[in-house]
Structure formats: structure tokens, C-alpha cells
Symmetry: C2
Subunit: 490 residues, 2 copies
């Protein structure tokens, strides 16, 4: 059964004095009003970590009661930072099954009321325990991916910073036109360069902010102007070090194949996109993983203005997570609210895109391991669906061979990528240098180095000496003496 969207709504994102349930009720009210409905058959609620951010459990019930729909089935759904997209997918199946006619999808998060180090600690819980225990945070892992991307595609540090700044500048420019955005200000290259280093090479302006907010969509089996054309969902390894690639996300690629296949659309059909720019580089990687640009060429498309608001393929006309803000549970659904505004021609004048008949959203859960791709389309685009249709999109899925032997406790290895983390989570000293090291026997391990105080002292691709201290890997400079000792031992 086809599924359509009959109502959307969202709160202004930012720092809010309202409780989470009040914000979500506000978004729900707007979406229900938009759909001209007073009741629905069920509510699906997306919140990532209401338990620790707010201290509540049984939140689906509280919300049904708060919005005055006591009695109606209410279910909470969570897929880490892609929760807003995950709850939309879940509700989609409920309507597609024919068991539900109208369903309210609600997503939100309240985050700004806690100290930043605590919020950072809570957000870090999406990271695999084996990597989290080193003090790795989302920005730290994203920073190591950014370093690796620059190395893989031969971009100088200067060039990488240029590119990242351009993403931030573009998305802030778009967000400045969005009344729902947390930051309604444009930024300059100078602002970007002066912003605080969070985890080298990522600055504050490379990271989506901490935000309160809620978004809502009403799904229906009754035809409306906006149709849900395709949904794809995929996971990847829990630990980042088990990935086949550090510069692309299999989970986006696999989700994209499914979404394109369901929608019977190719990447070239997509007219605009909302891409999960929790970190600036992730927008670049996202556009590549979605097949919108070839691998390693996303930054070029940005430079050429293709992804600008008036470019051929606008990315994040809303301002993205970067500028609209990132209430973790809400963002995936807010992307879809933006696409509906664009498809209906309801975005503010300066922000309304010219071509807005097919829009795509990509949402990342965790560090790229629970991702969704959703395609919405104007239903007045008449077209014939064909049995067994396949998209002309064949991304390479890079899988790391399963290593079953434990890595050696000491020895020489290659520093594949690294970062120096300044904004450490609760319980960790700052700064903290982290890296991924490939051992001689082929395993990749996360390692820290308490000595390095500046990322300038390290180089990717160089040999380092790996040892274990208190159950953690530590990497050190490979001195002549160590090299010799190791050679004698070996």
C-alpha cells in the first residue's frame, strides 16, 4: 500500500526552556493541524536517549498523554542519531501494512540543559565500548575520518580546511534563511578559522551544535501531494576499526541502493538533498555514498557550487544539522519536514528551490553504522513502476576481513590516522591523542598516546611502536633503539 504525508511541523531548533514533551507536543499540534486531523491510529516516537538526557522512561506513554491522545497506541523507536529517520521508517510500515490509516510520527531531543562534558559522554555511548573506553568521542572519530579522507584523495591540510570551511559557510548561509534554524547567521572563512579546535582538524564550526527541538510528520494511506517513494536502512560494524573503508560509509551505500530500488529512481533523478552533516566532511562523504558524485569528488562539486542553494543539486537547503541544529533524535525527521516544505513550495521565498519534485534525505546513526536514506516525491509526477527495476547505482561495499586472532600486545605498526581531542568526555584529561594503528599481522587497533600534545608531531602512514598499558593500546614514536629491540626480538 502506498504511503503519503498529510501533515508536517517542527519547533524552532535551539536552546529551549520547554520540557521535551512540551516541545514534542508543539510539533505534534502543528503536524496534526496541517493534516486537519484530531486523532490518529497510532503514535511513533523517536528519542535517542531520553533516559539519560531527561531521566524518563516509558516516554511514549507520557507523550500520548501530553498531546491529549491518551489511549492511542504509542511506541518509541531508536536508531541512535538517525532515530528521526528510523521512527519514520517504522511508522511507514505500519501504514503500508494496511493496519493503520493515519499515524503521527514524532521525534525530539532535549540536550542543552546539561553540562557539555556530560552531554559529550552521553553522546559517546553510541560508540562501541571497545573504542569508547579510550575516550573516543564522535568528533574524535569524525576527525580521524577527515584526516584519512584528505590523505586518500591527496588533499593538503590547507585544502582540507578550505573544503570543511566551505561546507560550514554554505550551510550557515542556508540556515540564515530558515526560521526554524538554531543559527540564523552567516559565517565567514575568518569566523571558521578562529573557531575553537574540538578534535584536530575539526573545529567548533565543523560540528553540529547541541540542540533542543522536535519535529513531526503525519503519514496516511490517503493520497496527498507528497508520497514516500523509497526507504532504505542498513547497519555497519559497531566498532569503527572493523570497517573496510574509513572514507565512506557502507551503511549509507546499502541504504541508498534499497531506497533507489524501492523508489525506482536513480541518483541522477534526485533534485535536492538533506545530508547528515553532523560533521562538515560527512556532507561530502554523504553525497559520494549516495552516488550523487563519484567517490573523492564530493568536495569538488561543493567547490564548483553545484550543492549551493542555487546550484544544480542543492544540499541542505535547511542549513543542515550544522546550522538548523542537531537535537539527535529529531534531526532525521526534521530533514523530511524540510523536504516536504520544499516539495509543497512552502519554504520561505529566498529558500524555496526551483526544482523541487524529488528530494532525498540521508541520516547517520552512530558513527555511520545505522543509516537511513528516504526519498520523498510529489505524487503528481505520474510515472509507471516496473517489476524488477534496478537502479544504475553500484557502489563498492568495502568489508574488512573478519580477524579472529587477537592483535599482538606489543610491536611495530602503521599509524593509519589520528586526532588530538580537546573536548574530552567526562572523566578524560584534555588533550587526548588517539589513533588507529594497523599491526604487522594486519589487525587494526585503536590506541592512545598520552605524550603527544600537538597533532603536528604525528604523521599518517608512519611506523609507530605499539604497547599495552592497563588494558589499553598506547602508541609511541618508533625510536632507533625500539626498532632495533623489536628487530632482535622478532
Amino acid at each position: 500500500m502506498d504511503v503519503f504525508i498529510s501533515g508536517v511541523g517542527m519547533t524552532k531548533f535551539g536552546r529551549s526552556k520547554d520540557s521535551l514533551e512540551k516541545m514534542m507536543a508543539e510539533a505534534a499540534g502543528l503536524a496534526l493541524k496541517d493534516a486537519q486531523l484530531e486523532r490518529v491510529d497510532a503514535i511513533y516516537i523517536g528519542v535517542m536517549n531520553v533516559e539519560e538526557f531527561v531521566g524518563d522512561s516509558n516516554f511514549a506513554t507520557l507523550l500520548a498523554d501530553t498531546i491529549g491522545l491518551t489511549g492511542i497506541p504509542s511506541t518509541r523507536v531508536e536508531t541512535a542519531s538517525s532515530t528521526g529517520a528510523g521512527v519514520f521508517e517504522t511508522a511507514f510500515y505500519a501504514v503500508a501494512s494496511g493496519h493503520m490509516k493515519n499515524v503521527l510520527v514524532l521525534a525530539g531531543e532535549k540536550m542543552t540543559h546539561l553540562p557539555t562534558a556530560k552531554t559529550t559522554r552521553i553522546l559517546s555511548e553510541v560508540i562501541d565500548r571497545s573504542e569508547r573506553r579510550y575516550g573516543a568521542t564522535m568528533p574524535a572519530l569524525a576527525a580521524m575520518i577527515a584526516q584519512k579522507y584528505a590523505r586518500e584523495f591527496n588533499l593538503s591540510q590547507q585544502k582540507l580546511m578550505d573544503i570543511l570551511a566551505q561546507v560550514a559557510i554554505k550551510n550557515h548561509s542556508n540556515g540564515s534563511l530558515n526560521p526554524y534554524a538554531q543559527f540564523r547567521k552567516t559565517i565567514t572563512k575568518d569566523n571558521y578559522m578562529k573557531s575553537q579546535m574540538v578534535s584536530y582538524p575539526l573545529r567548533l564550526y565543523d560540528c553540529a551544535p547541541i540542540t533542543d527541538g522536535a519535529s513531526a510528520i503525519v503519514l496516511t494511506s490517503q493520497p496527498t501531494l507528497v508520497k514516500v517513494s523509497g526507504i532504505g536502512h542498513a547497519t555497519d560494524t559497531s566498532a569503527v576499526r572493523h570497517r573496510g573503508s574509513f572514507t565512506s560509509f557502507n551503511s549509507t551505500k546499502e541504504a541508498a541502493i534499497k531506497a533507489y530500488t524501492m523508489a525506482q529512481l536513480n541518483p541522477s533523478d534526485i533534485q535536492f538533498g538533506e545530508v547528515h552533516d553532523a560533521f562538515t566532511l560527512f556532507e561530502i562523504i554523504g553525497t559520494e555514498d549516495l552516488g550523487l558524485f563519484p567517490s573523492g569528488m564530493g568536495w569538488k562539486a561543493l567547490e564548483e557550487g553545484i550543492t549551493q542553494m542555487r546550484g544544480r543539486l542543492p544540499i541542505n537547503p535547511s542549513g543542515g544539522l550544522k546550522s538548523r541544529g542537531h537535537p539527535v533524535g529529531a534531526s532525521g525527521l526534521a530533514q523530511l519536514v524540510e523536504i516536504v516544505y520544499q516539495l509543497r513550495g512552502e519554504a520561505e521565498e529566498e529558500r524555496q528551490l526551483e526544482r523541487a519534485e524529488i528530494g532525498l534525505a540521508q541520516s547517520i546513526g552512530g558513527l555511520g553504522n545505522n543509516n537511513l536514506v528516504t526519498i520523498l516525491e510529489r505524487s503528481d509526477r505520474k510515472r509507471v513502476m516496473k517489476e524488477g527495476w534496478k537502479p544504475d547505482y553500484h557502489p563498492e561495499i568495502k568489508v574488512s576481513p573478519k580477524v579472529t586472532t587477537p592483535p599482538p600486545s606489543e610491536g611495530v605498526g602503521i599509524l593509519e590516522t589520528f586526532t588530538t581531542l580537546y573536548a574530552t568526555p567526562e572523566g578524560f584529561r584534555s588533550p587526548l591523542t588517539l589513533g588507529f594503528v594497523k599491526t604487522k599481522t594486519g589487525e587494526r587497533v585503536m590506541a592512545c598516546n598520552p605524550d603527544y600534545r600537538s597533532p603536528k608531531e604525528l604523521k599518517m602512514g608512519k611506523s609507530v611502536y605499539l604497547k599495552t598499558r592497563e588494558g589499553l593500546y598506547v602508541f609511541e614514536k618508533l625510536t632507533l633503539w625500539r626498532r632495533l629491540k623489536h628487530w632482535i626480538k622478532g
Copy 2:
């Protein structure tokens, strides 16, 4: 599209040394093997509070990776203590939509590793904040419901205890035959009477234990021996004091109507049931709310042996939450695993029911405000479904009128029900006396009384004096002096 069950599995419930993901992987392995499948189209994961019990977020991803199904869509679902049933419902729609052929439903919780007061505090977060702040726990609220039930149906305290003991004895007896149960021992009335008072009048043997465990089911669109006939889901007010009735749960009744309607079955068609006996009395109330026995007569059916293993309508042949154990996220799905064992005739000889063609499970989320009813049936029972069929089940849904004026800060009220809580959550002194008081203007408030040390000093239906201290309602004896003072003021 019809949905069937092709595989089931569960771990032994109890105290486990295994991690949550290891337990869930074990259950998943058993269910996949039973279904003769190596891969599925998606995984739906039910855990109630992995964030606080285990300290993880992004658990759906971790689990997909742990069970060797990296890449597959994985979504976490939560509806408080009915999570196991909620995740089953969610996965059901995914298959019923035709978008998925085979789906793995997994549910689990790890709870025994924390101190009891901390576990109690975490479990209490399902209670509405406005009642939780008094120190109310699940046993405390259940105890007040038990007191009210006795008063409403004219049962003496002695009689109430007899009935509660009989539920515990029956379920322990059933559980003693279940290899998956936490407690495989029968208990006597004497054991029951000697067990520690948790919240007057509920003893340790009235409460489901703290448990580790996992359960798994594979859903499929391919016909198998077991069909999912009906699912119903409903919520009720977040706060217990806003209920229309203290002795029945609207959410069970409304969920039951939906499940019977979908299945085109009447309560009289049900041959056996798994009913959410988190507290002994809840089994009695459950059987009434499901329409299996008239309101206020559930205890009589128990006394007459009807709900015994060899009775006409066996309830909790598995031993129920009481004896099988209650890993909060897993229980709702474990009930369905038990029903599948019975329908397939695979229960152990002594436990296998004679009539096992239609089984029903009822699962309670929170304090009766996010409940599900699921009916499974042998698919070789050929019958014709009729358009617009309605069940002969018309329960009274009692709703409290919405009170918009705030209750007075001081005055005379009626003590509707009360309890003395001995096992208080982290941060509260023991014992703690709590009650629901109806004010003269008709509002119901929760109130505490720091003075009463024994429940024997209090009586339901008597006038008490209500005042506010530090933002909390406190109730006290209505002395002549207070009565006079109030009369002069009034």
C-alpha cells in the same frame, strides 16, 4: 498480508554472567536455527533501558554486529515493560506491509548486576514524574491497586492475602516445570507468608523478580504452523491518579478489543493465556480486563482452579513473570515464545496443555499505561474471516474527567488507598507511606506521610488532612482540632 512465526528461542532466565548482547545473540541463534534461516531482512530489538542498566546507546547496531548480521537494518523499539510485545507488534507491521519477508524480533534486558536500590530507581522512571518524586515505585503503586481491589470487591485483608498467595503458588508450580524459568521451585502458603514485605500488602512473592534474559522470534510472510491472529495496543494516562479506575486497566481492555477484532475471536475462544503477573494481583485483574472472567470475579476463577495448568483456561503455564522471571524488555516476547511452544506441542510433557490451538498474551507497559494483547493461533484451524466482524466483548472504559483547576494546597480529603513501602528507591528513607487522596473539590492527589510507620494505623475511605510541604502533598490524621479549624476557615 498474513504473518506467521517460523522460529522461536530464549535463554534460561535468571542471573547471568553473560553480557546483554551475548544473551540476545544466544536467543537469536536459537530462533534462526529453528526457522532454518541464516539471514533475515531486518532485525527489531526490544530493550527497555539499555542506557541506564548497561550504559550503552546505539544498541541495535551493536546487536546486528554481534549476531553476525552486520549490514542488515536494525531498529530498537521500546514501550516500557511491554517492550517485548511492542517490538513484536512493530516487526509484525514490517512483514505485513510486504516490504519484509523474514524478520528477527529480539528482546532482552540485563538487570541483576546492579544494586537493588539502583535497579528500583531505574525501573521507577516508567512512573510519571509527578508521582515518582514522592518515591513511588512500581510495587508501591501495585500495592495501592491491590488494597483498592480488596475494598471494591469486599475482600478482607485475610482473603486478599489468600488470593495473592494462590497466584504465587500456582505460578511457581507451573514455573517449576519450565526449564527456562528463573525459579524452578514450588512454594507453600507458609513460604509466601514468611516472605519479606515489599510494599504493604505486597510481599516479595507478590513481585516478579529482577532477572537477566533474552527471547527471540522469527516472523515470516511464508505460512507456517503458527499464525499471528490479532494484535492490540493501547495507552492510558501517564499518572495513575488520572485514571478512571484503580482496579482495572483501560489499556488492557482497549488492546483486547483490537486484538479480538483483528483475530475475529471472542474471549470464550481463548484456550490459554500468558498474563503479565509482574504483581500477583495483576494476573487477576488481567484475566478480568481481557474478558476471560467478569470484573471482580478473576480471583474466584483462580480459587475454583479454572486457571490452573489442568484447569479449563490455564493462565501462565510458563510460570509467568513471577516464576519464569522478568527481564523487563524480554518478558513480552517470552510470553509469545511460550505460546508457540504450546501451540506446536513442544512444551515439556508435564507442562504441555491439552487444548492448545489459540493462545493469548497480555503485556503491561509501565503501571498499566502501555499495554499489548497478542493472539497466536495454529494455522491449521481453518476458518472463514468475515468483513466487519465484531467481538462480543464490550468492557467498560472508565475515564476520569479532565481536571483543569489545580487542587487546593490544604484541606480535608478522603484517603482512597495507601501503602507502606519498605523497599524504597535510591534517595528515599524506608518505610515510606504513600496514598491517593481525593480532595473535596474532586481532584485526586498523591500524598505521603512521614509519620505513619505501620499500615495498620490507616484506613481506606477515611477523612485525612492534606497539606503541602516543600512542594509535596502530605496527609495527616484528621484531629478534632484540625476538623474544627478547617470548618471555621471554610
